[in-house]
């Protein structure tokens, strides 16, 4: 879509091994990835191939064993970039209510941080409530996480990732526990948000339709050690609609992605093509 | 302006401390231009350590502890300026029907003694002085507050005690300490020592000799007045600490006065003074018992320069 945008996220010859000594596991083989500013990239691949690992690398939660991760031109961690992340498990803090959980980034991230005390009972609170209402959780702000169902937790966790208007948005299967309709509603909301605010988004998903609907690029990974084996551009016009997903062009895209994943699942086949 | 003196007692509030509070309440300290604060203590030996540390200036404590410390750290050790117990309260206590009638009879019996206390430390000397093999005594070490009960329970045959404390404990237990029990004083069995008195820090003695004199004047006067008016003295104490048992504390005051203070020697020399020859023997005994590296000179231990005139130190008669 926007090929000349400056590179915002870059993985340079990154490898990642978990553990040490005998228990060492190579989760990610040598990986290179560039994401332009304001781009929307989806990551797909078989279970355990290292998708979450890539997200954690880009967020700076784990350091690369080999290679470098740059965000906004600086090594990750040092850059003054607002990051929003929805984890695969909706890890809400159990001692906070849903609203407090959603407002947490405002308490931490500048420039909101400085205004938190003054605005937490007015503007910020309203902002959280509005976001909760958008995902269908109005009225649940005062509940505690254990009083919500799995899908509701996931939506709350999504709100937490969005509330501070992040420049870099990491979403790890954010809609996995939702029914198809709620999911499609949230796709539309996310697309709107992307079109108006233009954050750089990295989305992990198992739903190829979701990847095609939302992303500009879909990266296909193969398993053990994980590696990106294919990088497909998705050029449908924006804003996209659910109807579009039934069009032949879209169906053939998902078919192609399916095929790529099938071959990615049998490592031998990939080895040859890589 | 008044000289500040922090004064430490040898133990918690008891009848025998009446004169210190008497002096304070009646304003005798103030009259001597002294500002005295009195703190309760944790043992007559600890008085010495407390003064040595510099936090306290004077106190009521054990001369034998002074001797021990003077042998090792002469510069820091406080000096005794007024001897109050001219007879040491160390004694062996057994039941009246016990076969232990003298020190010699301890052989093969069980003796309860407080770990580390002077009464315990002097046992080898006591045994030696009485021709008894020290190893033949089976010693069990017990805290002082348990001794009487273990004796009564029969867990031990005799105990090495502080007479002033044990006597009143037995009274409190509603026993007759004179009829039901036998007392063998160390001093009657060849171990003749001095005991508690007023001691002051070297610094106070050197820098403000007048203050020390004033302190002793006030205390000396109070001793006489309290002994003559024991009821008033105990009432004054009870006003300070309502929890004390007035009867017991009055008896304690009188017992201590009669048995440890109003001795023939005190009648001869006056309250507060000592016999240099006896002190010399005591220093020898202590040096041997505690294996001191060297013997301190008597002058390092006791200084009679601050005593009030002898005429003021005549032991009084116990009042009604």
């Amino acid at each position: 879509m926007n090929e000349d945008a400056p590179t915002f996220v870059q993985l340079e010859d990154v490898r990642l091994t978990y553990g040490r000594g005998e228990r060492m596991v190579e989760a990610l083989g040598t990986t290179n990835l560039k994401i332009g500013q304001g781009d929307f990239v989806a990551l797909v691949g078989p279970s355990g191939c290292g998708k979450s690992t890539i997200l954690k690398l880009v967020t700076g939660l784990i350091p690369a064993s080999v290679g470098y991760v740059f965000v906004a031109g600086r090594e990750v961690g040092a850059e003054p970039v607002r990051v929003g992340m929805a984890f695969q498990n909706p890890t809400l803090l159990p001692w906070l209510t849903i609203r407090q959980n959603v407002m947490l980034p405002l308490k931490i991230v500048p420039p909101f941080r400085q205004q938190y005390r003054a605005k937490k009972k007015t503007e910020f609170r309203d902002r959280a409530e509005a976001l909760l209402a958008q995902v269908g959780l109005s009225g649940f702000g005062d509940k505690f996480p254990w009083q919500l169902s799995g899908g509701m937790l996931q939506r709350a966790s999504l709100c937490r990732a969005l509330i501070h208007d992040p420049q870099l948005l990491m979403l790890d299967e954010p809609f996995g526990a939702l029914d198809q309709f709620t999911r499609e509603e949230l796709w539309a909301i996310l697309q709107d948000l992307w079109l108006t605010r233009r954050p750089t988004v990295l989305l992990v998903t198992h739903d190829l339709k979701e990847a095609g609907y939302l992303a500009n690029r879909v990266c296909v990974m193969r398993a053990r050690p994980g590696r990106i084996v294919e990088d497909c551009h998705v050029d449908f016009a924006r804003p996209r609609t659910i109807e579009m997903t039934y069009e032949p062009g879209f169906v053939s895209l998902t078919q192609r992605l399916r095929g790529l994943i099938v071959s990615a699942r049998s490592p031998a086949a990939v080895e040859a093509s890589a | 302006e008044p000289v500040k003196i922090r004064f430490t007692l040898d133990w918690k509030l008891q009848g025998l401390h009446a004169w210190y509070y008497w002096a304070q309440e009646k304003g005798y300290f103030k009259a001597e231009n002294l500002d005295v604060t009195i703190d309760q203590g944790e043992g007559s030996a600890a008085t010495v350590t407390r003064i040595m540390s510099g936090v306290y200036d004077a106190g009521f404590g054990d001369i034998n502890a002074v001797i021990q410390n003077a042998a090792v750290r002469p510069a820091e050790t406080p000096v005794m300026v007024y001897m109050i117990y001219s007879k040491a309260p160390f004694a062996l206590l057994t039941k009246a029907d016990s076969p232990v009638k003298s020190v010699k009879d301890l052989a093969g019996t069980k003796l309860g003694a407080p770990a580390g206390g002077a009464a315990f430390k002097l046992l080898p000397l006591l045994a030696k002085a009485n021709g008894l093999e020290y190893g033949s005594i089976a010693i069990t070490q017990v805290a002082p507050n348990l001794q009487e009960q273990m004796l009564l329970q029969g867990q031990v045959n005799s105990i090495a005690v502080f007479s002033a404390t044990s006597y009143m404990n037995l009274v409190a237990l509603k026993l007759d300490p004179d009829k039901d029990f036998r007392w063998i004083f160390y001093s009657d069995a060849g171990i003749d020592l001095y005991s508690n008195g007023i001691m002051v820090s070297r610094k106070l003695a050197n820098d403000s000799p007048e203050a020390v004199k004033g302190l002793l004047r006030a205390i000396n006067r109070s001793i006489r007045e309290t002994v003559e008016n024991p009821d008033a003295a105990i009432a004054l104490l009870a006003a300070k600490e309502p929890l004390i048992n007035k009867d017991i504390e009055k008896r304690r005051l009188i017992y201590v006065y009669k048995s440890l203070i109003d001795t023939p020697e005190a009648r001869q020399l006056g309250l507060g003074d000592i016999s240099d020859a006896r002190l010399d023997t005591a220093i020898n005994l202590i040096s041997e018992a505690f294996e001191l590296p060297k013997k301190p000179a008597p002058a390092q231990v006791f200084d009679r320069a601050f005593l009030p005139p002898k005429a003021d130190r005549v032991p009084p008669q116990v009042g009604p």
């Binding site: 001692w95 947490l104 991230v109 | 133990w11 703190d39 404990n169 004390i244």
Partner: protein, 257 residues
């Protein structure tokens, strides 16, 4: 409501039963007053001597509260340091364990030599005794915090202090409150020990005076006062605990469906 009432009644009944048993044991086995007085004697003493006991109680409570407050503050600080730094963990623990293995009775006289008898040594003793359980539990609570929860903060580029205040400490609260229960009793013990050694007032002083005239029921009245003070403070913490760490105990709520 009726459930809460029944709960309170049955627990009161058991506690009273305990004292009745004690009384019965004393009567049946002819236990001498001097060994273990009957609770009725103790209560009678407590009642009769109340005016004289009161100032001692106030002194002990006051000293303990100050020492305990200092213990909490320094305990949490030390716990945070030990829980978050490897070096502090490796050095702080052995030093603290070593120090805590020492009976405080041996340390109080040293305090007296520094500060004189009175409130200061008692406050210090209460503080150092109540400190260690708090340190250990806060440090353990921090060290066992789920990394997933911290990741939430790290992704937001939170500072270490942010993480501590927003994840570490809240997560460690159940540990902290557990340690308070132990610490408050130790604070009382510390105060009383210091008072028995060096003080002109306080329950410790009272017990020494009582035991020097062999007034065993009065000694036990002192002990009873201590026990009551301890339970009283515990009740207060329990209330706070219920509010603060309800999230960790939701099981209870859940069982009532």
């Amino acid at each position: 409501m009726s459930y809460a009432l029944r709960r309170r009644l049955s627990s009161t009944a058991v506690i009273i039963g305990f004292f009745v048993l004690w009384e019965a044991a004393c009567v049946i086995f002819h236990i001498k007053e001097i060994v273990l007085p009957r609770p009725s004697q103790v209560l009678a003493t407590l009642w009769l001597q109340a005016p004289a006991i009161w100032p001692h109680t106030v002194q002990t409570l006051y000293t303990t509260l100050i020492g305990f407050a200092l213990g909490i503050v320094s305990g949490v600080l030390l716990g945070v340091v030990i829980g978050s730094s490897r070096l502090a963990y490796d050095t702080g623990y052995p030093l603290l364990i070593g120090f805590s293995s020492i009976p405080k009775v041996a340390v109080v006289p040293i305090f007296v030599l520094w500060f004189g008898a009175g409130t200061v040594p008692a406050v210090l003793t209460a503080m150092i005794m109540s400190l260690f359980p708090i340190v250990v539990n806060v440090a353990t609570g921090l060290a066992t915090t789920e990394p997933e929860l911290e990741d939430v903060m790290k992704a937001l580029r939170a500072t270490k202090l942010d993480i501590l205040f927003n994840v570490g400490l809240p997560r460690a609260m159940p540990y902290f409150f557990a340690s308070l229960k132990v610490s408050v009793t130790l604070a009382f013990v510390g105060t009383v020990i210091a008072e028995t050694v060096a003080s002109n007032r306080g329950i410790g002083n009272l017990m020494m005076i009582a035991s020097s005239s062999f007034d065993v029921p009065l000694v036990f009245a002192g002990l009873l006062v201590l026990a009551l003070l301890g339970v009283g403070l515990y009740a207060i913490f329990s209330l706070i605990e219920g509010r603060v760490i309800g999230w960790a105990r939701r099981k209870d709520d859940y069982a009532m469906g």
